[in-house]
């Protein structure tokens, strides 16, 4: 396939009836929508990260450091709301799913391009609402992103606007999932059966089903919460005959599968990067494909592990614990498969691969600490401590976040037709890795020593860990700036990139960088094995 970028028109050039910024906001091109999501999510991520840094400064010393207690509650709430609903849930699906899914299956767009565009607009509306909660007179919500009853039914802060924002954002997730499922079922190129697809579409497929089926449950739960606040109904408030545990169950029935929405596409990205930079086909293609579905399915059955100390029955506790251990198995299978893919491969340590290696390391730590949390006995010690905070940041940030960075460094030349500086990228990755571990590892330790989460004050014996953590936060933030600056510079002034800079074997590497508007100017040639590096 030729890579003469001059002979075709890139999707980055204005071609439709709208020009300039309108040409982007009104675009139905999945590639432009992917970049719109990328820019929005990056902006939200930095807002959330700065809020996180403010929390870190506050926690650097016991007692009041820079903010009052009420403000601190508002900070960790909005940090969670932004990061969960506006960054990691849309995250990889909306950015890389949108950009790559049609390319991977040889399609010229998704099944419903206008619906796709609508989901980005919905993200904008929901995000504006979420940000507005910070400025209303009743004060930002202080319930944590989990909105537990009965406090969430009683606090005077802007819970209704925040939960409405989350409800609106949920639609973007549902409709994106719907779009991707139909796309995968209906728009694969001729000759591409399900088991000829690369593994990234498999990951997107599994995650899309979760987005579709789980999100409505939290939707109705949030409406019930709003109803309770507005009309004084007692669904959840025990003073009115309600059941606070009911809220927790309903909430976590979505929010646990939600984490698989986050991690499955991340694993899909890693599964594309590793064979490419080892120039070897993926070890255990079918195992990885089926394990994606297994994680999605079993992930619906473990939500109670967030609630072991809530007063659930013993039967419930051991059931959820057992299922939690079971759901770890397909994840572990993937890790073994990635490592075996590297074995006897021809390894090229480029930035995407370095990020992928960091991902595996951090994901293993996050995953195994999840087992400590998943086991009922040990959970009692670490529930609601900094240990949990460390665990989920290792999984979401160390896992999904690093996979996101890996993905952006991997597909950057395809998206922009230019390359970034490898040395800066690699050093940025290393600094990011160091900062990340400084930030979160001490939290495991002070967590099991007793440091509670969401507390803004603490006993002096935890301060050593908090200080290291705060320093780590600033190192991490600096590394993020380096990484993003390098990428932005590359997009503007980097060397022109060829169609296939990494010797990849999937279909996106057979078309020019950047692609034309409708992706494939001639019909794509579908290989039975998508990871065939010998041809």
């Amino acid at each position: 396939m030729s890579n003469e970028t001059e002979k075709h028109q890139s999707y980055l050039d204005d071609q439709g009836e709208y020009k300039g910024i309108l040409g982007w906001i009104f675009s139905t091109d999945h590639k432009r929508i992917a970049l719109l999501y990328l820019y929005a999510i990056t902006a939200f991520f930095f807002v959330g990260a700065i809020i996180g840094l403010m929390m870190r400064i506050e926690l650097a010393a016991p007692g009041e450091t820079i903010v009052k207690p009420q403000t601190y509650n508002g900070l960790f709430t909005v940090h969670g709301v932004i990061m969960i609903f506006m960054v990691v849930i849309p995250g990889l699906s909306a950015v890389f799913g949108n950009f790559l899914l049609p390319l991977h299956i040889g399609a010229k767009d998704v099944a419903f391009p206008k619906l796709n565009r609508l989901t980005w607009w919905i993200l904008m509306v929901g995000s504006v609402m979420a940000i507005m909660t910070q400025f209303l007179r009743q004060g930002p919500p202080d319930t944590g992103w989990t909105f537990y009853a009965p406090y969430s039914t009683q606090t005077g802060t802007s819970v209704i606007l925040a939960t409405t924002a989350a409800f609106v954002l949920g639609f973007a997730s549902i409709l994106t999932g719907l779009n991707f499922i139909v796309t995968i079922h209906r728009m694969r190129a001729p000759g591409m059966k399900f088991f000829n697809m690369p593994l990234f579409p498999w990951a997107i497929y599994a995650a899309s089903w979760i987005q579709l089926l789980a999100t409505p449950v939290v939707g109705i739960t949030l409406i019930m919460l709003i109803f309770e606040r507005v009309f004084g109904i007692g669904f959840f408030n025990p003073d009115l005959g309600g059941d606070p545990l009911l809220f927790q169950h309903l909430f976590w029935i979505y929010s646990h599968p939600a984490v698989y929405i986050m991690i499955l596409p991340a694993m899909g990205v890693i599964t594309e990067i590793i064979p490419t930079f080892c120039q070897q086909k993926v070890y255990g293609y079918k195992a990885i494909a089926i394990s994606s579905l297994a994680i999605a399915g079993v992930g619906f059955l473990v939500w109670g592990h967030h609630m072991y100390t809530s007063g659930m029955s013993e039967q419930a506790r051991w059931f959820f614990s057992l299922l939690t251990f079971i759901v770890a198995v397909p994840s572990a299978i993937k890790v073994f498969n990635w490592i075996l893919t590297m074995y006897k491969g021809s390894i090229d340590m480029k930035p995407p691969f370095l990020y992928a290696l960091f991902f595996i390391f951090l994901f293993i730590i996050g995953g195994t600490t999840g087992l400590i949390l998943g086991s009922v006995a040990t959970n009692v010690q670490v529930h609601d401590t900094a240990f949990v905070v460390a665990h989920f940041h290792y999984i979401i940030f160390g896992g999904m976040g690093f996979a996101f960075f890996a993905g952006i460094h991997f597909w950057f030349p395809k998206m922009y037709g230019r390359m970034y500086n490898f040395k800066v990228a690699n050093w940025g990755a290393i600094l990011l890795f160091i900062g990340f571990n400084l930030l979160y590892f001490p939290q495991f330790i002070i967590g099991y020593q007793g440091m509670p989460r969401r507390y803004y004050d603490y006993l002096p014996q935890f301060q050593w860990g908090q200080i290291i953590s705060t320093i780590g936060g600033f190192v991490l933030f600096t590394a993020l700036i380096i990484m993003v600056t390098n990428l932005v510079r590359g997009a503007k002034k980097g060397e022109l990139a060829p169609a296939n800079p990494w010797k990849g074997s999937t279909l996106e590497w057979t078309i020019p960088s950047p692609p034309s508007l409708e992706n494939f100017d001639t019909d794509p040639v579908v290989k039975a094995n998508p990871y065939d590096y010998n041809s």
Binding site: H8, Q15, G16, E17, K108, A111, F112, I174, L178, N179, I181, V182, H185, R186, M187, L212, L213, T215, P216, V217, G219, I220, T221, I223, M224, F227, V230, F231, G232, I233, G234, F235, L240, G241, G242, D243, L246, L250, S516, L517, E518, D521
Partner: protein, 205 residues
Amino acid sequence: MSNHENHPHVHRDDEAQKLGMWLFIFTELLLFGGLFLVYSIFRAQYPQNFHESSLELSVTLGVINTVILLVSSMSVAISLTAVQKGNYKLSRLMLLLTVALALAFMVNKYFEWGAKFHHGLYPGSELMQLLERGHHLYFALYFFMTGLHAFHIIVGVILLLISYVKIGKGKVKSDNFMHLENAALYWHLVDLIWIFLFPLLYLIS
């Protein structure tokens, strides 16, 4: 070089449209499913109160509304078959009948709710706060579930009216009727939800 820019949707995929609507219907089932779950939990907790409260509802009106919706599902099905056979006049007539039945349902709902409001029974009212726990929860769920359902009736009516207009404009016809089929599918969903609501709220006495 393939053509691009302002071409209208050249690629038509009816199966994709249908699959999309079915998937959306699954999400609606899960949305209402959450409410049904909450209902069953509280009913298990307060069975006597739920039984007593449901005596306040008019079973007659509920039956009438059920028949209305069932007939409306029939009329929308006739409408679809009519389009498939090229009988656009009948199709549009049946759509209007469906919408008329939906409006009749809403009128009944207006009177039902109106009667409750008149007695001071509405979400957030003083009377509601004074009720026993089980009664309070029953009526909260009654308003919530029927209210959410009524909202979906309005959405369904809009979809049906759009189909009505499209048939008139020739955009929906015997060889291109996916839009009407999807609207009818959605309407059947709205009917199905009521089929569950009716016994749970009206027939537990």
